[in-house]
Symmetry: C2
Subunit: 472 residues, 2 copies
């Protein structure tokens, strides 16, 4: 261990044990040099390391202070099951997506991580090499179900997680949403009942609306994320054909459901023979420890269509996702040949090269560390400066923070006010149709901390503050 | 003019005037040198030029012979209007597409030109350069409606044809089929009537089936391709909401409808306020002369959604198409954000660079010349060797030949026999549901002539011969 790491380690212990309290001033650099006997450089490195981990923060000309520790807060108890025969979220989502896509808009509302973190240099190098070769563009090998070598590599990743997978189970798609839509089309018919989480990626609402499905939602559980009791009640009451669930780093809230609950969900799905479209596009963005299991892991009867993508780890501009389609592979390929035909050949070839040589694992490790650091910085800053009537939900994965405003505030109005200042945020009406869920915001915090980011965050905070004060 | 061109020109005149007859032997190289006073090299160049144009052919050790001249044959009179409430072409198409996609299969059944002709070296060079730059992958600028610079360049191409176009009228899509499907979704509702050509790209049947539309077909006209009388009759009888038509280098037959008829179609569309999904993906593959007009040219009321792509000119592996969406732009972007989200960013950027510097025009000129040469070679060879009870339809555009077998033969059986020999062809049941249209084949002839191609074509001919003889 380096000397700076030693020092950082002992200060971290003082913070985590509560010996040093939140907002307590740390010894100045000079004092610390004298106390510890380490060089100034060593002390500076240690402080910077702690700052990058979100454990301490600095104020100009005042020195370093202990940051507040992150305590996982329970979600508010959400309201009960709702049945929606008609959803009208589409035009809102469209207006929203168009408003935040301008380059001038600060992308706190974006669903994608900062592109600076993605497009791994090694992948760009491989793309540069393959792009110069004519055969990289040949469509034949890239036609549905997609490049065989790529499907083999994806199958291997499933096997590493203990999920027996054959390359023929995998279908490469034009991104994760394409995988989800194709999967739903393959299992559901107009008029079928679909079960969604109450607060959920808007793509699920849109897909259900487009296919003419009847939507039932279950509330999030305040502690566990997933409300198993409500789930059981719904599937005993309604003839649910298919569920569309996100259980790892759930979008927009961020929670990850425990393996124990996943096992119980799987058991109920099997008992009732219900299909599951599993949206697992954030599966790689866990912090530390082990990768959470997917529902596919517990699936013995080919009821789970597991959908994922490279968009959240390597860049959305690539448009490559996949589905573990199993017996639905033919049906899904069929749908592809009627729509997008195939996924870009060059990029499939580049991904094969990139995944073959463990570049992906290395990239993911760096990415996870950066996301964790940035998210902690955003969390501490918001926690410190938002009015106390607001709540910030932190979960150790992904790059979203879920912010609760006082229930008298309308998050759409906050969004409207901020977009006028060229700052995007994602208001909760994008994710939930319930009138009781209109006062939440999703903030993308995948950005390296700098003055521009801090200023934008200050504007978010100020805009919320003003509305809170006006409401008092 | 070079001497060899002079010589080739005078021989061409002798052939076209009928002074030299089909299969008549030309003077040997030596004789020609003596007669003309030109060098052996000049005479050889002239003969090779004429051969590449399909005007003469060579037999080993026998010398050069005059090829049969191409006379455009009228199509067989097709049967009358048909109304299909339920189409079941999907599983046939799927089985077919899967069977021909193996690399070992000779791709006479493919819908795409030989990839050797596409992926222009300059485009590959640009891709190689841009692929090394991180900013090429940024999704923001590529989101719907697509890269602005690319839309400007496409709009300019419309303007060059006299079609007033604003970049905001254009939406970039994941290939041509995606453009067609999105356009149809934007204008048609389940239960609406759609008018199709009787023999048509299967994607049109599939889209109609998927959207739950009622299909009316009109027959092809034996001389003009498009049967204006049948068209008028149908739109006066049925409440047609939308037509899906291909009028330039029609797939699978190959004809191009005259500007005069296009004008009359447009007039009728306007009178009856019927939308048109115009499939124009072969618009650039005309031979010589001028680019045929699109229906968009005659459209004064924004009824035409003109769909095209780079798949048939630069390579299907890119997956970039577009639609002139006009007032439907928002609706179509909306549908994109719910499905594929966006088109690959890198490739949109590369196309901007490629199209900006006239590389595309240069590439198209070479491509057209090659396709014309190859198609003529295929035509002459098939004409010469197929049983006389077969007919080969040649049109001066694209890269398909449409072959009529004796009506007692079933083209599906010919396809089945050939796929056993690893040769793909496209049988007419893929394109028409009429029982009277089961004895046609579409042959892709975009391949440079060589022994392998000739052998495969010989197998096609032999397989047909055997079936003709067995039927006598």
């Amino acid at each position: 261990m380096y000397k700076s790491e030693q020092l950082a380690h002992s200060i971290r212990q003082l913070i985590e044990s509560g010996t040093l309290n939140a907002h307590e001033k740390l010894p100045s650099l000079r004092d610390q040099v004298q106390r510890s006997g380490f060089s100034l450089m060593t002390v500076m490195n240690a402080y910077q390391e702690l700052e990058s981990q979100g454990l301490i923060y600095s104020k100009e000309k005042s020195g370093y202070f202990v940051a507040e520790q992150i305590v996982l807060k329970p979600l508010e108890q959400y309201s009960v099951v709702s049945l929606n025969s008609k959803i009208e979220i589409n035009s809102l989502v469209f207006k929203y997506l168009k408003s935040i896509q301008h380059e001038s808009v600060v992308p706190f509302g974006s669903a994608f991580p900062d592109s600076q973190l993605l497009a791994a240099p090694k992948l760009i190098q491989i793309m540069g090499q393959l792009a110069r070769q004519r055969q990289s563009y040949d469509q034949t090998a890239s036609l549905p179900p997609g490049n065989l070598a790529l499907r083999k590599l994806i199958a291997q990743r499933y096997c590493m997680q203990g999920i027996q997978t054959d390359p023929d189970d995998i279908v490469i798609t034009s991104g994760g949403l394409d995988a989800l839509n194709l999967s739903l089309q393959a299992v559901a018919q107009p008029g079928d009942y679909i079960l969604l989480q109450q607060t959920v990626f808007y793509g699920a609402w849109q897909a259900a609306e487009r296919l003419g499905l009847k939507v039932i939602t279950i509330p999030e559980h305040p502690q566990h994320g997933f409300d198993l009791e409500a789930f059981e009640q719904v599937i005993q009451t309604y003839p649910i054909k298919v569920c569309w669930l996100m259980l790892n780093a759930q979008n927009p809230i961020g929670f990850t459901v425990s393996d124990d609950i996943k096992y119980k969900i799987a058991k109920l799905l099997h008992e009732h023979q219900i299909y599951l479209i599993e949206d697992d596009v954030y599966e790689e963005l866990f912090y530390g420890g082990q990768k959470p299991l997917s529902m596919k892991y517990f699936d013995q009867q080919n009821l789970v269509l597991h959908c994922s993508s490279f968009s959240k780890t390597l860049g959305a501009g690539f448009r490559v996702g996949w589905v573990y389609a199993g017996k639905f592979s033919d049906h899904i390929q069929h749908l592809q040949l009627m729509s997008t035909i195939s996924v870009n050949a060059l990029i499939q070839n580049a991904l094969v090269e990139f995944l073959s040589h463990h570049h992906y694992e290395k990239h993911l490790r760096t990415l996870r560390l950066s996301l964790e650091r940035y998210k902690k910085q955003f969390y501490h800053y918001l926690k410190q400066h938002l009015p106390s009537s607001c709540e910030v939900y932190y979960y150790p994965s992904g790059y979203f923070l879920w912010v609760k405003l006082p229930s008298t505030l309308d998050s759409m109005q906050v969004y409207e006010a901020l977009i006028q200042q060229d700052i995007g945020i994602a208001p909760s009406p994008l994710f939930s149709v319930l009138p009781t869920q209109q006062h939440y915001l999703r903030i993308n915090c995948s950005f390296e901390w700098n003055t521009k980011i801090q200023n934008a965050l200050d504007q978010v905070i100020k805009t919320i503050q003003q509305r809170v004060e006006a409401n008092l």
